[in-house]
Symmetry: C2
Subunit: 379 residues, 2 copies
């Protein structure tokens, strides 16, 4: 029996030894996390760009405020209105929704939120602009609006050239909107394993940004900033001379896929950041020689980018996930029931979104409990 009285709403209590955390739990190695935050602060300062940390990774007001107070972040970005609402409620005062918001009811919520914090948003379609302008007028605010260009990711974003320029002009001509610049983010490029291919993808992005800035200048539209980039490529955009702001998110935690990106660069993870996020899991069955079963499956970590890695424990591999179980190879039969392992999740962002709490640990004990403030805020 634990020395701490714990129930079903929270997996740990501050002060508890790690061995008593109820598993599976989402844990942060606070020392590694703080070093990652400091490393990116220094990188942004060295490159002379602003850091706008992406909160879609952690969805935590505590972490966002830490990034702003101690990590050099001028504000955060996120992807959804409900995410922005939750983070503003948690004290964050500068939020870029780095995404298109198109439904009139969501636009209304966004403009209302701008009464309480500085809010920016992206647009890639002219039909949405009047709704943004009307909502800003209705709530007595001015919204900063970025034109998102499709710079190779083939997701959202307007086409280059005339469509981009016309959209910027339309925003600039809207009385309650401010044309804030260009959003240029190539998501897929972050995860290209081959360094030369990754650089080539970002070189193409830079060409498109250059072309768009020139097209705007040719018709006399000032472009106040270019923002974008992620953890896999931030150094390329950041040193290009074209970007004013970078938007990395995963750098605070890293994950198994970024370890693979880093391996191709000859590092443990991309950019030399450290694994700071883990699923703490326990062995719950040792049914036969050579294998074991742990208590962390699909509801504890997201496998969209591959299976988790077992961290710091030789001879054990995570072979497969079902809803509530992880099948482990335990070739040397080192594991016994209730042994704990740390897993590096395949993909940190959707993994954090599965949990209600970050359990921050240091020196073998629980030091922090941070709610995943915007968990499930997807609308």
């Amino acid at each position: 029996m634990a020395d701490f009285d714990i129930g079903f709403d929270i997996p740990a209590v501050i002060g508890m030894p790690v061995a008593q955390i109820q598993t599976p739990a989402l844990i942060i190695d606070l020392d590694a996390f703080e070093r990652n935050v400091a490393r990116m602060k220094t990188a942004a300062e060295t490159m002379g760009v602003r850091l706008r940390a992406h909160a879609k990774t952690h969805k935590s007001a505590d972490i966002a405020l830490y990034q702003m107070d101690h990590g050099g972040a001028v504000g955060i970005c996120c992807q959804k209105v409900s995410e922005a609402e939750a983070l503003v409620r948690g004290g964050v005062n500068d939020v870029l929704v780095a995404n298109e918001i198109t439904h009139p009811a969501k636009i209304d919520r966004l403009a209302r939120l701008a009464q309480r914090a500085r809010i920016s948003v992206c647009v890639d379609d002219a039909g949405v602009v009047p709704f943004l302008d009307e909502a800003a007028a209705r709530h007595g605010v001015r919204l900063d609006v970025l034109v998102e260009i499709d710079c190779g990711g083939r997701r959202c974003g307007t086409l280059l050239g005339k469509p981009a320029v016309e959209l910027a002009a339309l925003v600039a001509a809207s009385p309650n909107l401010v044309f804030a610049g260009i959003q240029a983010y190539h998501g897929n490029a972050q995860h290209i394993y081959d360094p030369a291919e990754r650089r080539a993808a970002i070189d193409a992005v830079l060409d498109m940004v250059r072309e768009t800035k020139a097209a705007l200048a040719s018709v006399g539209i000032a472009c106040p900033m270019v923002t974008g980039a992620g953890t896999g490529t931030y150094n390329l955009e950041g040193t290009s001379g074209l970007y004013d702001e970078i938007q990395p998110g995963s750098y605070i935690f890293m994950d198994a896929d970024y370890a693979r990106v880093g391996a191709s660069d000859g590092k443990d993870t991309v950019g030399g950041f450290e694994h700071a996020l883990f699923i703490l899991t326990s062995v719950m069955s040792k049914p036969a020689s050579g294998r074991a079963v742990c208590d962390a499956g699909l509801k504890s970590h997201s496998v969209d980018s591959g299976l988790p890695l077992v961290f710091g424990f030789e001879g054990v591999r995570y072979l497969g996930a079902s809803d509530e179980h992880g099948n482990l190879a335990d070739l040397e039969d080192r594991l016994k029931i209730n042994d704990m392992l740390r897993l590096v999740p395949g993909h940190c962002d959707p993994t954090c979104n599965l949990h209600d709490w970050f359990v921050g640990i240091r020196n073998g004990h629980v030091e922090a409990l941070w709610p995943v403030t915007a968990r499930g805020k997807i609308f």
Copy 2:
């Protein structure tokens, strides 16, 4: 702007037209859901087996109680102590934790919960039995304990023969435990597409159950019941004469993978159940001819068993998910911004676990809002 005042904590209001639901949202077609519940009730009655509905699918006290009040379920099963705690708090009075609970603190919570509801649990290791017995004594309860056998899934479960019999004997000899029978569930078999292979897998399960019952009988240990089976194979176990109880969960909703299982049987989904669970999503970008982007990605549905299917809308396919986006093929350019689509998720269980609310719809309007009571309860 919506006629209904909605915020970030809930995607809909009862009475609202479907068109005003904030997307992405997890919606239930209540008519189809009710027909699925009735169909399994009839199937269990016809086969003469008890139905213990698996709540790991929905994690909802409202749905569990509906299955017990209207769907013939004698109780529910789930996988985690925290899930059981949340469902008992929601009014469910008979819960089988169809899984091994091995950590002393979790065992203590489980025994404490048995003061408020009938609780059963599985075991596959003799070392855990004394902890179960002590916890039951400490809280003044008797726990029903099932011996789980590995019947081919190669996950948890004791080996057949002597280990299974010795474990049952140990449970039966524990003063505060009741040997309740055999748990025999082959998870992987549920999703075997080829009907002959699926049947062969369950035939092997039945042989193992038969062998285990005989081994118990040979040493004079009564086996009060055999429980197991899921949505993909319930009819095989249910008509075997060996099973007393079946544990299907997904039958209420179905998903894209069960559609594939059903297709190999010549049906829309396995067993003739209907798709009743959807992600309601909106088009948020129409950046180029032939493609569109919707607002439902990895944080809205789980892709562990494949991508979602677009339901009831020809010419559009879901091609890929990033965290908050879905890339759609829109080959005939039928979609425009803010159009809504229904997606059948690849895998219903981990998808439900991403959401806070089920939005029940009928006749084009929101009729029910059910919290996902045990969402995130994984420990």
